[in-house]
Amino acid sequence: MRVLLAILLALLPCSTMAADDVADLTQTNRLLQAEYELARSQHLYFVIDLPAYRVQFRASGTILAELPILSLRSWGRPADGIAYTLAEKTARKEPEREQVLIPGREPEKPAEPVIEAKKPAGPVVQALEIGDMPTDYVLRLDDGTLLTVHAKFEDAGGWANLRQKMTRFGWFVTRPLISVWHHWRGNTYNEMLLTLPEREARMLYWSFQKGSRCLVRWP
């Protein structure tokens, strides 16, 4: 009896490991199948690999760029192996396109005094550039899953750090209540909170266009 028990105890970790391996293989298989379809389509697509803490821009299976994820919090568990579509991007301050002013048709403006100290060092460019992209925003996938992106600033002071910690605390307090609300309405609520370096957060907003396809490997 003791021998049998010992054998069973010895086999228990192996069987758990095997189950984990199967789950991992299954998830990988689904993702590869979905990626194969996307890679054949000639479109750009994004792979958000949460266990590896990275976002990759890909086309035809080729990695074009890779962005690191500094930290990650997840809520809920959406389905695996689905090619999602970016349905909506929302930010507190959306970047705005400027309208080209046609000579002879400029709107009349009162002359503003030019202050020497405020003149930028480089050439003045009327354009929408990466610096105009937001650092904190929400990406909503077509199944309702939210990817909340926050930027981590290198030169952030004490107040910024405190604000970030308070925001994170607020996230953990409010998510359960939002989950209950969605449950009562018959929906499931899934959200990922991603922290990226500042420039990378702006770059993701720039490149990840509405309607783009993406694959997500959940943790």
Binding site: A18, D21, V22, A23, D24, L25, T26, T28, N29, R30, L32, Q33, E35, Y36, A39, Q42, H43, L44, F57, A59, S60, G61, T62, I63, L64, A65, W75, G76, R77, A79, D80, R97, E98, Q99, V100, I102, P103, G104, R105, G122, P123, V125, Q126, A127, L128, E129, I130, R175, P176, L177, S179, V180, H183, T188, Y189, R202, M203, W206, S207, W218
Partner: protein, 244 residues
């Protein structure tokens, strides 16, 4: 006499007569419990909701991943076959990658890369689309000056290109659109070389070299003289161009 030794006043004695006695208040101990209960109830409800929310947020576990991949007959695929299938899929995806050299354009950082597999052969500073909007005040037509994203290929290679100015170029300058197409031609503005990727978009040289690295173009990708010459001489027709 009352317990303090003072006399009752007559009016008070009269006032008590013929009236129902005042309602009995619960004992002090119970009042305390009711008060605390009233205060604690919202807290308990809040904690309960948060706890239930946590359960909802974490109950899925790995259930989604545990649903087995099935074969054609609906039977779960064993792990060894699954691993082999994954290896095959990886090979099929890798086979879709461009063969030989290809061009990658990063519109956010205004960079162009000539790559071969994972290897970067040359990194070039560029000017991509400004993202500005031009509205035709007469016809109401609208143009957005973005560099298109996606996969393209080099369709044409031109030395000493001549720019055939589109309508927006005249509208932007506040000039009338010419009736004859010969009036649209303008030399020496696209540099010495141009590589066409379709739909009127080109990788070409520029007169505005100090703006390289900024988003200032009308959608084309501007490069410095040496870089566009290098690309013209290196990239063959059909070379893949991936823009993100």
């Amino acid at each position: 006499m009352n317990i303090d030794g003072k006399h009752w006043t007559g009016s008070r004695i009269v006032g008590l007569q013929g009236q129902s006695p005042p309602p009995e208040k619960p004992p002090r101990r119970w009042r305390k419990w009711i008060l605390w209960g009233g205060l604690a109830l919202p807290v308990v409800i809040f904690i309960g909701l948060v706890g239930y929310g946590w359960y909802l947020g974490h109950r899925h576990g790995d259930a989604a991943a545990e649903v087995a991949v099935q074969d054609d007959k609906g039977r779960p695929v064993p792990p060894d076959k699954l691993a082999a299938a994954n290896a095959r899929l990886q090979k099929k995806i890798a086979a879709l990658a461009p063969k030989g050299q290809f061009v990658v354009i990063d519109t956010a950082n205004n960079r162009v890369y000539l790559r071969e597999g994972e290897r970067i052969l040359r990194e070039m500073v560029a000017s991509c689309g400004s993202g500005n909007v031009l509205v035709d005040p007469v016809g109401g037509r609208t143009w957005t000056f973005d560099t298109p994203r996606g996969q393209f290929q080099i369709r044409s290679k031109v030395k000493d290109p001549i720019w055939i100015k589109p309508d927006w170029a005249f509208i932007e300058e506040g000039e009338p659109i010419p009736a004859r197409s010969s009036e649209r031609a303008e030399a020496n503005v696209m540099g010495d070389y141009a590589l066409g990727i379709g739909s009127g978009y080109f990788l070409h040289g520029t007169l505005y070299k100090r703006l390289l690295g900024r988003n200032v173009s009308h959608g084309c990708v501007r490069l410095g003289d040496e870089d566009i010459e290098f690309l013209y001489k290196t990239a063959v027709l059909g070379t893949k161009v991936m823009i993100f």
